[in-house]
Symmetry: C2
Subunit: 515 residues, 2 copies
Amino acid sequence: MDDKAREHIKVSYKVKIFDIGAGLPIVVLNESEARQRDLFLNDRVEIIRKDKVLSAIVDTSSTLVKEGEVGVFIEIADQLKLNPGDKVYIMPLRKPASIEYIKKKLDGGELKSSEIDTIIKDLMANKLSEAELAVFVAGVYTRGFNAEETVSLTYSIMNSGDTLDLGVHPIVDKHCIGGVAGNRTTMIVVPILAAAGAYMPKTSSRAITSAAGTADTMETLCDVNFSIEEIRNIVLKTHGCVVWGGGAHLAPADDKLIRIRYPFRLDPRGMLLASIMAKKKAAGSEYAVIDIPVGRGAKMEDPAKAKQLAKDFIDIGTRVGIKTRVFVTEGSDPIGYGVGPALECKDVIEVLQGGGPQDLLNKGCMLAGSLLESAGLVEKGNGFDSAIGIVKSGKAFNKLREIVEAQGGSPNLSIDNLPIGQYKGELYAERSGRVEYVCNKKISRIARAAGSPKVKGAGIILKVEHGDKIKKGDVILEIYSDSESKLSYALQVAEEIKPIELQRIVLNTYDKNAF
Amino acid sequence: MDDKAREHIKVSYKVKIFDIGAGLPIVVLNESEARQRDLFLNDRVEIIRKDKVLSAIVDTSSTLVKEGEVGVFIEIADQLKLNPGDKVYIMPLRKPASIEYIKKKLDGGELKSSEIDTIIKDLMANKLSEAELAVFVAGVYTRGFNAEETVSLTYSIMNSGDTLDLGVHPIVDKHCIGGVAGNRTTMIVVPILAAAGAYMPKTSSRAITSAAGTADTMETLCDVNFSIEEIRNIVLKTHGCVVWGGGAHLAPADDKLIRIRYPFRLDPRGMLLASIMAKKKAAGSEYAVIDIPVGRGAKMEDPAKAKQLAKDFIDIGTRVGIKTRVFVTEGSDPIGYGVGPALECKDVIEVLQGGGPQDLLNKGCMLAGSLLESAGLVEKGNGFDSAIGIVKSGKAFNKLREIVEAQGGSPNLSIDNLPIGQYKGELYAERSGRVEYVCNKKISRIARAAGSPKVKGAGIILKVEHGDKIKKGDVILEIYSDSESKLSYALQVAEEIKPIELQRIVLNTYDKNAF
């Protein structure tokens, strides 16, 4: 086709700028004009200004732009240095190949490694719309990913960002599926392993629906937002770190996929596994321990499914070269006393100083002990006792102080320095009995009502746990906040949703009208 | 929860207005502030200004709005009469129940009638994001809809808009799956049925990827954009109409679903059936005939699948009270000579005047004859002959003139009045041989290059058909356009893509290096 013919494909438009970001590179064309050119919603085009070319996604409107006009958002305007009224050319592009591969998965096909990689590359290049990505997630959810596809996705996600190349051994990691309030074992495990000579470049998440993520909790003590180069320096110096995963550019495709999975809470098995393992691979991990809490109200309620997930973790771990052990743990009740960043920090510091909640100490040392054994730092069977020893000797506490200092915090770790909320309220038992259940979700909701995780000192101290005998009027929990009104609101929420259940003798009553 | 507590949920924001439409009612919140309030992308909120309340979908941004600000697009600003800096309240809402039902379908569940209806109602109320709707379509595509679900969807789509209540009998309808160039049987069938005393309130589509839809073709003669009340008056007066379906408010949910299905060309069987039958039910149809063209390059290539689709149409038709007959027709080649609005009109007028392409006459009369029989207007077996008789007597032509006049056009139908493009070019046979295949898609592409369907007079007249013996240098098609440059472009496209194949003796050649 000669240049004259191409002029019919490469059409010129007058620029109209919308002074707002669109997140994706979108151009808005007049609807009937676009239809005439065979351009439809979500089609791809190139927008050309002099010698610069960008690819963009078509949106259409019958009111926002007139024929001959193209609407662009600030991202494109900035990149092409456009002013209103400028002339640009728009040329149709083929749909990205990803669309075909996503359709293939929807039809039940098995995706090749190169196909999965193309999807993740197009995701990172913003070439796929949210609807198209949602169809990808739905396809993986309904059709599944086999082990090969999961491994491919792991590498593609890993390669979507930077990798940490420490050049040292052994490098260890841990991950918890989440859902248990107060479960701050990472801040116990990292200093134990670092003190024992392993390297543990731990990236953690912030709270999404809980009262605190590990990153929020660590942030009570020091900065958690570091570049990959800074993380490298901290870990080479102290053997460990506890930083926010979203700050480093490790496996960023994962954050984008999670955003898409959110509305339906879709957690396709293959994506969950790849997401976790990709972050570990990107950090250079050789040994990993995974914590899967199971129980009433936990993310996973069925022990058989937890066992299958454990098997999948070990299988994918083996395939990508990470020696993986999995613990299925009791997840029905919170761990420790404190819930909320500063109050969870208090538990961690007390445990590392030789006191604190024993369930947190034991769980942390069990996970740490497993890594000590896997990495060959202690004999098989001695892991737990060695971990306890490292805590009791004060070495773990000193190591946490070192890491906190390397992350820009004060090494004078003391519970007296923690910014715990100055307003305190108490929730009382409405009757006597034995504690049957402390609901993680309700505890998190109350702590959030008090201001967690944004208000570091807001949260809860649990005064009772599963199995305790309590009397009417006993304090069952304390709520802390930085404002009287938030405290009063949190207390009202607590009274309304009742986070603690006592044992009952009569489970249900029926009469003839009940059926 | 008392009013003081509710104040923590109902938070006030300062309005920032984005001077652009978003299509959906979206509010933009500061990302970290939204996270603190448990509000995430695609969550639902109410936005409250004095006594007015709107529901909206959350978008988040870390740069566009500061903490304490809410960004709104012009639709919401207009509806709530907002000015920049105004104070509004934002309250979280539960996700619409549709999300749960869409997830149920994704998990392989069978949706109840009320659940499907809720999804369609939320779709119409703009309560679902594009990504959520895409997941719905993907769910129906992978898990399927059984007959009960399809019937439910039919009624829900029907009830999403107006219905036409004519109060007369018999009401007949026809539908073609599409994909065949020049296949303008509707403009033959409607006047025959109307002349025979049936009522045929026909709504048609515009071209999406073809050179002309029936609505585009009819528009050469008269207006096609009418309200439901206007359609009622036209049909009660003349017994028929040929109008654009998108103009009447019949089954509008369907248009929204099609928009979502477009990027992946997803046509879940249940949605296709429900979409077509809903439009027929909304128009009050009692009898319908469906045309499924099958063949090389047609939308449906496999006769066995066409048979299954025919069975499904009859089944769903029976369940919703429309007596349905289905014709699986030869769909490998174009019908008639003309391709493009005015040139297809020329074929129709010539057929109704007793001449024109015989394949168009015969196919139109076969479909019309079937409806005449179904509706009890003629004896079984006499349908086709009766239809031919109505054409040959001139009654069908007079009826089309009546309908065109009722739709605001001139009743002086003559091929001399058609706005056929004044620029004409010819494509010549490159060698001698017998015509094996005329490709519908390539023919459409050339006609579109010449300007169809927007330029009514642009398009193609085919000079050869399947089976013809031709000599090198013979004219195989004529191209018409309204501009010399479009004509030259269309000719270049035609020479490049070669729309016509001749029979070959040697199908492939191989040597030892070919394997």
